[in-house]
């Protein structure tokens, strides 16, 4: 018991002494340290990846707060139970974690329908002239609405390939489908979008 207390005290001291970012450590190494209870490795992993997973969650949920909550939940699950990550079963941390985040987003969406996107919620780039801004905002709004009507798998494929700029192979791996199936999903999604966005294209 005493040893365990001493060990955790020592861990805290070590955690505080180490630098927050470990650019020389890859995700696998950080995860191994997290499995040993190293908080600093966890901090480095969160700082490295939280933005990209937030971006994915935002695409699904269209809400900053909800997306932040999902990313937080996903990382805290990993911290609480680092054995969830099994390097022998998962090729790449990000591939596995994208799947975790997507599943959390889908669960949340099942429980709570997202608020419909209206003109006020579209994000406007303030560096553009007013007219162009208006047109861009309308375009974005129409695109988001059109994407919102796509089947779940087509939407996921689009988000992974276009928004997160993953390769088709990575996206297929995350979705657990063959490369050809992913390409077919993207093609069908784009055909539908072209039809629905014809006024803007």
């Amino acid at each position: 018991m005493y040893d365990r207390v001493r060990q955790s005290q020592l861990q805290i001291i070590l955690d505080n002494a180490m630098p927050a970012a470990w650019p020389d450590k890859d995700d696998h190494e950080l995860l191994e340290r997290i499995q040993d209870g190293n908080g600093q490795a966890f901090a480095a992993l969160v700082e490295r990846h939280s933005d990209r997973f937030y971006r994915l969650a935002y695409r699904y949920l269209q809400s900053k707060e909800a997306a932040e909550d999902v990313v937080q939940d996903a990382f805290l699950k990993l911290w609480e139970n680092p054995a969830l990550w099994q390097p022998q079963r998962n090729s790449k941390f990000t591939t596995w974690f994208y799947r975790v985040v997507v599943n959390l987003c889908l669960d949340l969406r099942k429980r709570k329908r997202p608020a419909p996107l209206d003109d006020e919620t579209s994000v406007i780039d303030e560096r553009q002239p007013a007219d162009e801004m208006m047109i861009r905002a309308q375009e974005q709004n129409a695109l988001e609405k059109a994407i919102g009507t796509l089947p779940e798998r087509q939407r996921t494929a689009l988000n992974l390939c276009f928004d997160l700029e993953l390769t088709n192979q990575e996206a297929a791996e995350i979705m657990g489908v063959r490369l050809k199936a992913l390409q077919s999903l993207i093609m069908r999604a784009k055909t539908t979008l072209k039809e629905r966005m014809k006024d803007y294209l």
Binding site: Q35, G37, G39, F42, A43, V46, E47, S50, D51, Y54, R55, Y58, R59, K64, A67, E68, V71, Q72, F75, L76, W79, E80, N81, P82, A83, S122, V123, D125, E139, Q140, L143, E144, L158, F162, D163, E165, K190, L193, K194, M197, Y200, L201
Partner: protein, 104 residues
């Protein structure tokens, strides 16, 4: 024409905007994690050791349990009673029952 539409759609898909996350998102997650205990990583052998530890008995307990097991083993391994006294009592019971049957 169709190629232009494809290209424009691709550009639109690539330039979809995202409301940026709070600047302190990572810090919030890290801070929250500090207040959460981490589930210990337990291997198969550790879990087996724990399971056996659950059945740990104090020494008198072992003596009592051993005596009990020994008693049960000896009880079952002893052959049925075939002593002359037992056979005699069995014969008298049979005789008593047979006498009842002749009356009926």
């Amino acid at each position: 024409m169709n190629g232009n539409r494809d290209e424009k759609l691709d550009n639109m898909l690539r330039s979809r905007r995202v409301e940026p996350a709070g600047a302190d998102l990572a810090q919030r997650i890290i801070l929250k994690a500090r207040s959460l205990p981490q589930a210990p990583h337990i291997s198969f052998w550790d879990s087996m050791r724990q399971l056996f530890a659950e059945f740990h008995l104090p020494k008198p307990g072992y003596v009592l349990a051993s005596a009990l097991i020994l008693g049960v083993v000896i009880g079952f391994s002893t052959p049925q009673d075939r002593s002359p006294i037992a056979e005699e009592s069995s014969a008298s019971v049979q005789g008593f029952l047979a006498a009842d049957e002749t009356l009926l």
